[in-house]
């Protein structure tokens, strides 16, 4: 039995530490710990609720926009503001662009190096690499000459002897299984994806002024004016630019990202049997395709339990609770209570070892994340959950792409419950969104043509129009999964604020009943060739796309009534 510590877990957002027991070449137990805390919800208390989204957005700069939108929905839900159709469409476009960009960056820049041996690419034959590339896609950057150039650039880089971010890594590890040609192709696409993400996210700058941290949201709508006859507004010229960006994204995703995922997965099919985790999947649903309450969501909500895809449950947010049994917070009722977020009660109270330390006491409290549960059960959130729920709901586009991927790999749907399944689901979600974005843009253009220039519900902008006290909840499907913000407004200012975010669901520690969170559960059984080199552990952790800064929160100690909120 070997006890290993991976800290820092790199190629993620934020600060994650994992401790694990390894016995006979496999993980037998694991503990996930978040090691950073800021207290943003506490900072939000007493502030103007219309400002909250600007603060909340800074919870995370990788998944920028997502906390902005959840915050705005929570405040709109509380005060009764109704954003007009153009605002909904602009938000859908911004959010879907965020998901597309984030997923591409995750696959190529955060996750690929777990599967791709950069040094091995040096021994690739560029002609064979070209044949490989042309056999899986008609993407034009595929000639022998092109790959010769990429290889030469890589060789120059390595020959200079300063490997920078690629130094000290796990090159040559036996768990790397791609032939040199596939590695060279992946290195080329790693570099191309850097250019892609920079270009594509200009969509955010057009609609939000800048990225990261867009600045065009408003409680009640958007700040981006829409008017085909004005230079300072979103006009037909802007629509044309957006269309080009969306087309290019669809091109890159369908001709590079999807073929790469399928090609790489083909060499690692055993990972379709590794990393399943808790087997419960939670989706709030998102991308409203209408403006009335209860309008259909492009990604439907639902819950799948125990990997049973014959049943889909409705989500009831009132069944969400959080435990602090193993988190560095206190509850007045003691560590064995579990509270709904709207009754949130938390005081940070660090009881771990004083830094510097070697080991955490994992029998006690060991993380800055709480343990969210639904009906007392841990839930996995994220692209896999979304694609499973959409698949089971009969979502036509999702079904088409999921079935296509499963058939290309020659595996059945149960292969989705795995490390590899998360990677495939993320890619499928990306292609589905790039297909859908055009129709939101079309709708925006049609509204404009019809003379609907509304972007904001001004009727609730003045705090004098608000009730003396109001509660609201805002939900969003962020790239990493189900996100909820809860706000309590009193006398025009924030009395209380709380978030339960995707990485809290996925990365949280054990709860009061001792149930492991999804990261912890998914690591059980993960093979470890060399405990000194945590490559396989990184594979499963990265398949969730960890985002730790998002996960940590604190709420106020005041008890308050549970409020019924509609699902946005």
């Amino acid at each position: 039995m070997t006890h290993i510590v991976v800290d820092p877990v790199t190629r993620i957002e934020g600060h994650l530490r994992v401790e694990a027991e390894v016995d006979h070449g496999a993980v037998t137990d694991a503990w996930s710990s978040s090691t950073m805390f800021r207290g943003i919800e506490l900072i939000l208390k007493g502030r103007d609720p219309r400002d909250a989204w600007l603060f909340a957005q800074r919870i995370c700069g990788v998944c920028t926009t997502v906390h902005a939108i959840a915050s705005i929905r929570s405040v709109e839900n509380a005060i009764g503001a109704r954003p007009p159709p153009n605002a909904r469409l602009l938000r859908n476009l911004i959010q879907s662009a965020q998901a597309v960009q984030d997923h591409v960056v995750h696959f190529y820049h955060l996750h690929a190096l777990d599967w791709v041996d950069v040094v091995s690419a040096l021994s690739a034959d560029p002609a064979k690499t070209s044949s490989l590339a042309e056999s899986i896609s008609d993407w034009p950057l595929s000639s022998t000459k092109y790959f010769t150039g990429v290889k030469a650039r890589l060789k120059t880089f390595i020959d200079r002897g300063q490997l920078g971010p690629f130094a000290n890594a796990y090159w040559g590890h036996p768990a790397y299984r791609l032939p040199p040609e596939a590695n060279l192709m992946a290195v080329a696409h790693y570099l191309e994806a850097l250019d892609f993400q920079r270009e594509f996210i200009k969509l955010h700058a057009i609609l939000g002024g800048k990225n990261p941290h867009l600045q065009s949201f408003l409680v009640g709508g958007m700040a981006t004016p829409v008017d085909p006859d004005k230079q300072a507004s979103l006009n037909t010229g802007t629509i044309a630019k957006l269309r080009v960006l969306i087309n290019k994204a669809h091109d890159f995703v369908s001709r590079v990202y999807i073929p790469d995922v399928l090609a790489i997965a083909g060499f690692y099919k055993d990972w379709a049997g590794i990393g399943a985790g808790v087997g419960n999947y939670l989706v709030y649903g998102d991308y409203p395709d209408g403006d009335e309450p209860g309008a259909p969501l492009f990604f439907p909500s639902g819950i799948i339990r125990g990997r049973d895809i014959s049943k889909l449950e409705r989500v009831d947010p009132l069944r969400i609770t959080e435990s602090v049994k193993h988190a560095w917070y206190d509850y007045r009722g003691g560590d064995d209570t579990a509270l709904h977020p709207s009754q949130g009660e938390t005081q940070p109270h660090y009881t771990g070892p004083k830094p510097p330390f070697e080991r955490l006491d994992t029998n006690a409290k060991y993380s800055w994340l709480k343990s969210p549960r639904y009906d007392g059960q841990p839930m996995e959130v994220g692209p896999l959950s979304r694609m499973l729920v959409a698949y089971v709901s009969g979502h036509p586009q999702v079904k088409k792409h999921v079935d296509g991927a499963l058939s290309a790999l020659g595996v059945g749907p149960t292969a989705l419950f795995s490390t590899l399944g998360r990677i495939a689901a993320r890619a499928i979600e990306t292609i589905v969104l790039t297909e859908k974005m055009q129709s939101w843009l079309d709708e925006l253009g049609a509204n404009m043509a019809g003379g609907d220039l509304r972007i904001h519900d001004n009727s609730k902008w003045d705090p004098a129009t608000w009730p003396k006290e109001a509660f609201g909840a805002g939900f969003h499907e962020a790239p990493r999964g189900a996100l909820g913000h809860w706000v309590h407004i009193k006398d025009g200012v924030i009395a209380n604020y709380q978030c339960i975010v995707p990485s809290t669901w996925n990365a949280g520690p054990r709860d009061g009943a001792g149930l492991r969170g999804p990261y912890e559960a998914s690591l059980l059984g993960t093979p470890v060739h060399d405990p000194e080199q945590p490559l396989e552990i990184l594979r499963t952790l990265h398949s969730f796309d960890p985002c730790m800064a998002c996960g940590v929160h604190v709420v106020d100690v005041k008890r308050r009534e549970i409020v019924r909120v509609r699902m946005q």
């Binding site: 820092p8 103007d48 955060l110």
Partner: protein, 392 residues
Amino acid sequence: MAEPTKNWFAREMRRRGVSRRDFMSFCGGLAAYFSLPSSAAEKIADSLSNAKKPILVWLEFQDCAGNTESFLRSGRPNVAEIILELLSVDYHETIMAAAGKQAEAALGGVVKDHAGSYIAIVEGSIPTGADGAYCTIGGRSALAIAREVCGSAAATIAIGTCASFGGLPAAAPNPTGALGVSDAVPGLKHLVNLPACPTNPENLVALLTYYLTFKRWPELDSYNRPLFAHGKSIHDNCERRAHFDAGQYVENWGDEGHRTGYCLYKVGCKGPVTFHNCPTVRWNEGTNWPIGCGHPCIGCSEANFWDKMTPFYRHLEGVPGFGVASDLDKFGAVATVATAGAFVAHGVVQLGRRTLFKNVVFKGDPSASHESRKPAPGAVPPNDGPKNGGTP
């Protein structure tokens, strides 16, 4: 510079289809960015083609990785060029392949073997509460890591407003005792603050290029920010300034004035007290900027802006000419024009022919004049000022 180095670089540039002429044109562009004479381009070219890549370590503490993401949006040069050819980024948790012990060893190796010669970038604030337990990496506190790594660096860049001034975690009530680098690690001699939320990657590239070329920092303001990026107010360079001067304001979101591009002052714009080159450099390779898409400036490059600039949608009080806590609705366009002129004269101190690079031997006359960052007397002060730090 040794000849083989230049040969290597020339070969590499040729291989990538970049002619010497194109490269010199790029360097000339950078020289122009800093208002340097064209002869500086040669020096920049030499510096960028150095055989041994300068080492950079990038630390993340109480951060959101927004500055890292912003860095990934760098287009001139792009991030692949930076990490493969221009710098050796030996530690950056978000992009590095190694994890755990191997990552810690990479950082330890830099501090041990390259003390005094590497650049440290710090992203995120540093918590001082709970004995450092609010942020640990590899079991060590952010503060201990910052002391060691920045203390041995040739120079440190605090990137983003959190690392520069404490930023969001330090906003009231500052639950974790968060500080910017200059306050958490007092006495760092070679520290530059590059605030904004996040930092514009063009400013980071410009700052790094300047430092690598001249081995020292450009001229800084009293908050240790480079004047080339923070020497003028948003208001002074704003494309909507004419509407301010003409008394034309956005009254409601989506109204005729909003669609036409009127001034956002009345809906809360903090441009008059924010010193940043947003309006000229813009974002995402010049695509747009917040005011360009109809939202007010929130003052994100200023210290304590989360407390001092909020509520964000309340218009600034005390801007000269409008009187303290004045109600703009009382002012007609004529009055506004008159007072706007007073604001310019009163609020912005012209420093005339003060040169940007006073320590540089270049005799040329940089074409741009540079103004003080100080806001008008009586205007909302942008921040409380730096506690320490300084130029090399």
